[in-house]
């Protein structure tokens, strides 16, 4: 019986909620020692001297390494702009590791790290895009000459189209820098012994890490093992390579001890890759009916101090997805990457697509504001019609597979009374002090299912497929091994659901194993909303093949033709005569017994490995509405409603799909109203603890109202598009549009994220 669409409780949860999960820091082989970083307190300085004698003299300290001790270890990231494992001569952001200390306990390590004194010679810093691009700006990497890493100019900037257009609208937008803040900060444990290297890491792509570490140290992959045990969230920040993984391995090799590194929260805030940090100049041209004629987008991506390949990809994705759900005759894109004296920037939930939906959904609202046409109507007039899929955009990356943008909007408007809310908004505006109401829409679209050949190879992955191996056990239960590497998604549950339906084996007799390069054949990992759409499809494909082979054995037992065998009850039966049947347990048992299977069959045949590919990306979409109330006395913004229509194609488990959306929306609300890493003008981070980096909790977030439309993707047999990033793509523009709408009668056309009560109060004061 198919379990697709069933609200099955997660297989993962009993372990996690009884405290029996196992994370990297829970693993401590005998003899484990602990490493800690001495981190730069300076944004941009020359290292004059490092005094480590006092730290080395501390009892329990095994080693203190600086760049001089690891000269043979190569840099990470882009050739020529590589990120050293330990700062070499110059530090380029606050938090950059300058030295590493190893000690018997984490307490000694922390004390020793504090005893290492670094003499710096300060240099001017460029902690923002503006300062990095200014005339005479301090240059981070002399090889660049300036601070621009790459600049893709407009092919045609559409100047003539804009000059001829009846109307135009323009915005300069800042996508605030966000920290991923997984509940488990970065952690790793390296054990390099005579029989090889084992690296436990909290990471989203174990094979990718294994392959890279093996190549980095020039050791064979067969004796290099990466294990990602339970991983406490990643949000994209755990798909990039960081110095700690390589240093832990090198130190373990040198000291012949297992070496563990566990980041503290404050370290995580400045050392783990940040996300977003993108500025956009957006122009649209439109006619008298608010039909979009042309879109021009210039993206400037802050890469932080060292460009990462994933970070370099962010503006590519933003510009590819810039036109959103709309049919725009002409689109011009351009982008550049800029280095700054800040924490490096890479993927964070959505990675380039939240930035895209933000720019197009903000400017569409501005068109509505300027033209006086309702924002819902402006969207409707410009949606790509449902009968135009597959739809080729301005970008070869983005050929939209399927969608129903108008349908999602129609569904959204059934979830609340838009007209009544608008009337109440108008009434309140005429009162002296009643709260202002704002209504914000977002018809968003994103690119998911990173799986088409070539889509991940550019980021250094072996391929873009995902591996699935199904091994039917002699008792008729099944174990699925997959290269997808979940870290909170519930993949163990959804993959078992998919397999249960296809295999005819009960859900409770299917286990899903992942996160160990010694047991999983090969793998890519979990990122880019790909696990279900690529790996899940692999489960379906492998299951179909297992059943084909099982039918041969069942036919042999039932003395029938394999073509006549069907899945029936707890096993197989001859089509049309259900009583003529054999249970899975017997088929499985006999599949291992050469004398009881057809002479041309081999024992152990119910063991299938597939490397699943998909022909195209999928494009999850949706229509969101956020309603807010604004306190005119304090500027406080309260979200009063969050209406969420998602189209992720086929839903495997609604419980998990809703969880993904709600979590993503929470992160989107956080970006819009609460979060934002900031640096002062000197480059010092201003919010490196969770006291001042505001993550909203349940008390700040609204109840969500869910809706759904379903346009299955043609790219896989499941019809599933992916849903991991949807909420974080769709929510920020809806929230910002709502706040701007609430204040639009005061002439407000835009406010940058995060919109604080202080910012709102400033607007209200100015209007007085």
């Amino acid at each position: 019986m198919s379990l697709i669409g069933a609200r099955v409780l997660r297989k993962e949860d009993p372990n996690l909620i009884t405290g029996r999960g196992q994370f990297v820091d829970d693993i401590t082989p005998a003899g484990t020692v602990v490493m800690a970083f001495v981190m730069s307190t300076e944004p941009h300085s020359r290292i004059v001297n490092i005094h480590s004698a006092d730290a080395l003299a501390l009892p329990g300290v095994l080693a203190v390494w600086t760049a001089a001790d690891i000269a043979e270890l190569s840099t990470l990231g882009l050739p020529g702009l590589g990120r050293p494992l330990l700062a070499t001569d110059v530090v380029r952001f606050v938090g950059e590791p300058v030295a590493v200390v190893v000690a018997e306990t984490k307490y000694i390590a922390a004390d020793a790290a504090q005893l290492v004194i670094v003499d710096y010679e300060s240099m001017p810093a460029a902690p923002s895009i503006t300062t990095a691009l200014a005339d005479g700006a301090p240059v981070l990497h002399s090889v660049l000459g300036g601070n621009t890493v790459f600049d893709q100019p407009f092919v045609d900037d559409l100047a003539a189209d804009f000059a001829a257009a009846p109307h135009t609208a323009s915005l300069h937008l800042v996508n605030n820098r966000c920290a991923a803040v997984p509940i488990e900060p970065n952690a790793c444990l390296a054990d390099w012994g005579p029989s090889g290297l084992t690296l436990w890491a909290t990471f989203q792509a174990p094979h990718h890490l294994r392959n890279t570490v093996a190549a980095y140290f020039g050791i064979p992959q067969d004796t290099t093992r990466v294990i990602t045990p339970d991983v406490g969230g990643g949000f994209g920040a755990k798909i990039n390579f960081v110095p700690e993984y390589f240093l832990a391995c090198a130190l373990s090799r040198k000291l012949a001890r297992p070496v563990k590194y566990t980041q503290t929260r404050s370290e995580c805030q400045v050392l783990m890759y940040h996300g977003r940090a993108q500025e956009q100049d957006v122009d649209v041209a439109y006619d008298d009916d608010a039909r979009l004629l042309a879109l021009r987008v210039r993206v400037t991506q802050d890469q932080g101090a060292y460009p990462d390949p994933t970070g370099m990809g962010l503006p590519v994705l933003t510009t590819a997805m810039a036109a959103g759900c709309y049919k725009i005759p002409k689109v011009a894109i351009s982008w550049r990457n800029v280095v700054t004296n800040t924490t490096p920037v890479a993927a964070y939930r959505g990675a380039g697509r939240p930035e895209a939906s933000y720019l197009i959904e903000r400017i569409v609202d501005l068109v509505a504001d300027q033209s006086g046409i309702d924002p819902v109507e402006v969207r409707r007039r410009n949606f790509i019609p449902t009968d135009e899929f597959p739809y080729a955009t301005h970008s070869p990356l983005a050929v939209y597979d399927s969608g129903n943008f108008a349908g999602a909007m129609t569904e959204l408007l059934t979830l609340f009374d838009y007209d009544a809310l608008k009337a109440e908004q108008a009434r309140r505006r005429n009162t002296r002090d009643e709260k202002l109401i704002g209504i914000g829409f977002s018809s968003w679209l994103e690119i998911a299912a990173f799986g088409p050949p070539g889509s991940l190879e550019g980021f250094g992955h072996l391929g873009s497929w995902e591996s699935v191996q199904i091994r039917v056990q002699p008792d008729g239960s099944a174990i699925i091994y997959t290269g997808a590497s979940p870290h909170g998604q519930g993949t163990v549950t959804t993959f078992a659901q998919i397999a249960a339906g296809e295999l005819g084996i009960p859900f409770d007799k299917i286990s899903v194993r992942h996160g160990d390069t010694a047991t999983v054949p090969q793998g890519i990992g979990t990122m880019g909303s790909r696990a279900t759409a690529v790996g899940g499809e692999g489960v379906r494909t492998a299951s179909v093949r297992v059943v084909e082979r099982a039918k041969v054995i069942a036919a042999h037992i039932l003395e029938a033709d394999p073509a006549d065998i069907v899945l029936e009850g707890d096993g197989f039966a001859v089509n049309g005569t259900p009583s003529h049947s054999v249970p899975w347990s017997e088929v499985a048992w006999k599949s291992f017994r050469p004398l009881e299977i057809p002479t041309d069959s081999e024992p152990g045949s119910l063991d299938i490995t597939v490397f699943q590919q998909v022909p195209n990306f999928s494009f999850p979409s949706g229509a969101y509405c956020c309603t807010v109330e604004i306190d005119r006395g304090t500027g406080e913004i309260e979200i009063t409603g969050m209406y969420l229509v998602d189209d992720c194609g086929t839903v495997i488990n609604p419980l998990l799909a809703e969880g993904q959306v709600h979590g993503g929306v929470a992160q989107g609300i956080a970006q819009a109203l609460y979060e934002g890493i900031s640096y002062d003008e000197n480059g010092l981070p201003q919010n490196s603890t969770l006291m001042d980096y505001l993550i909203p909790a349940a008390t700040e977030l609204p109840s969500y109202t869910d809706g759904r439309v379903n346009t299955p993707t043609p790219n896989n047999g499941l019809g599933a598009k992916g849903i991991g990033e949807s909420g974080s793509v769709g929510a920020p523009p809806a929230v910002v549009n709502a706040v701007v709408d609430a204040l639009s009668h005061l002439g407000v056309q835009h406010l940058d994220m995060p919109i604080t009560p202080l910012a709102v109060w400033n607007v209200l004061e100015e209007a007085k």
Binding site: Y107, A110, D111, T264, T634, Y674, N687, P757, L758
Partner: protein
């Protein structure tokens, strides 16, 4: 988030705690630990010895003493929040205790610990100020009583000296009098950006949270309240004497505005009329 190493000793009584303090150089008292421990983990504070006074049960009580209620310094916020005695006679105190942090913090944090920490952003000092509490301080030389208005000396500094303990806080009963606490913050668990505590009755008091380097008693506004001035007139003078600072959440100007708005709202909540 890893503190400098320290020794730990457990005190069983007030006398024992004071003796331990005299015995150990560079020692600090540890009560609920919800201010001290985070600062130690950030290595902003270190101490060779922590003297744990959190297990001195004789300092955890809420007692009716006729005209006032005495609260032991080690009474947890959760007990203050849930006390029916306080709910009847000192509604402001019980309510404010329920606004501190989150339930985990309130189950560990103590009234005395919060007051002695002297954080201008903390909730409970404002209740002590608005209610005209008296602080009982015990040291080797005996016991002295300091009015709340003289207790908060400087940033994170109170009248409690080295080798002394705040042992009891006495609150005059305010049975039947109106009160309100208006707290403005970004997240429910956060410290206030600004908060205003109002107690009506015979000796009305208004106190402000996070409007300067110490918890602040708004004397001009309190006097205006005693004189029966209109709410707007009270609010007009509520920031007199404050020195609010600018930070990521608020400018001084915005804080002063919030203090006025919250004062008007607090007074409206009490049903105050001039």
């Amino acid at each position: 988030m890893i503190p400098v190493s320290f020794d730990y000793v457990e005190a069983t009584s007030v006398e024992h705690a004071l003796a331990l303090f005299a015995e150990h150089d560079d020692s600090k008292f540890l009560a609920g630990g919800h201010s001290l421990v985070p600062m130690m983990k950030l290595r902003l504070v270190s101490s060779s010895v922590l003297i744990d006074i959190g297990r001195i049960t004789e300092l955890s009580y809420i007692e009716d003493r006729g005209d006032h209620i005495a609260v032991g310094a080690l009474t947890r916020h959760r007990e203050v929040e849930g006390s029916s005695l306080l709910a009847e006679h000192l509604g402001l105190l019980a309510h404010v205790a329920g606004q501190v942090g989150d339930p985990q913090v309130r189950n560990r944090g103590t009234l005395g610990g919060s007051l002695v920490h002297g954080d201008p952003a903390a909730d409970l000092p404002s209740a002590a100020l608005a209610l005209g509490a008296s602080m009982v301080i015990t040291g080797a030389g005996g016991t002295r009583v300091v009015p709340a208005a003289e207790f908060f000396v400087n940033f994170l500094e109170t009248a409690v000296g080295d080798g002394e303990l705040l042992t009891e806080i006495r609150f005059p009963k305010r049975t039947g009098d109106g009160w309100a606490y208006q707290k403005f913050n970004r997240r429910a668990m956060d410290y206030a950006i600004v908060a205003v505590a109002v107690q009506l009755g015979q000796n009305p008091g208004i106190a402000l949270v996070n409007m300067g380097s110490t918890p602040h008693f708004a004397s001009a506004a309190s006097a205006a309240l005693a004189a029966g001035s209109p709410a707007s007139a009270v609010a007009d003078v509520v920031v007199e004497g404050t020195e609010a600072w600018n930070d990521a959440n608020a400018t001084r100007e915005y804080r002063e505005h919030l203090a006025r708005v919250l004062t008007i709202r607090a007074l409206a909540q009490t049903g105050y009329t001039s």
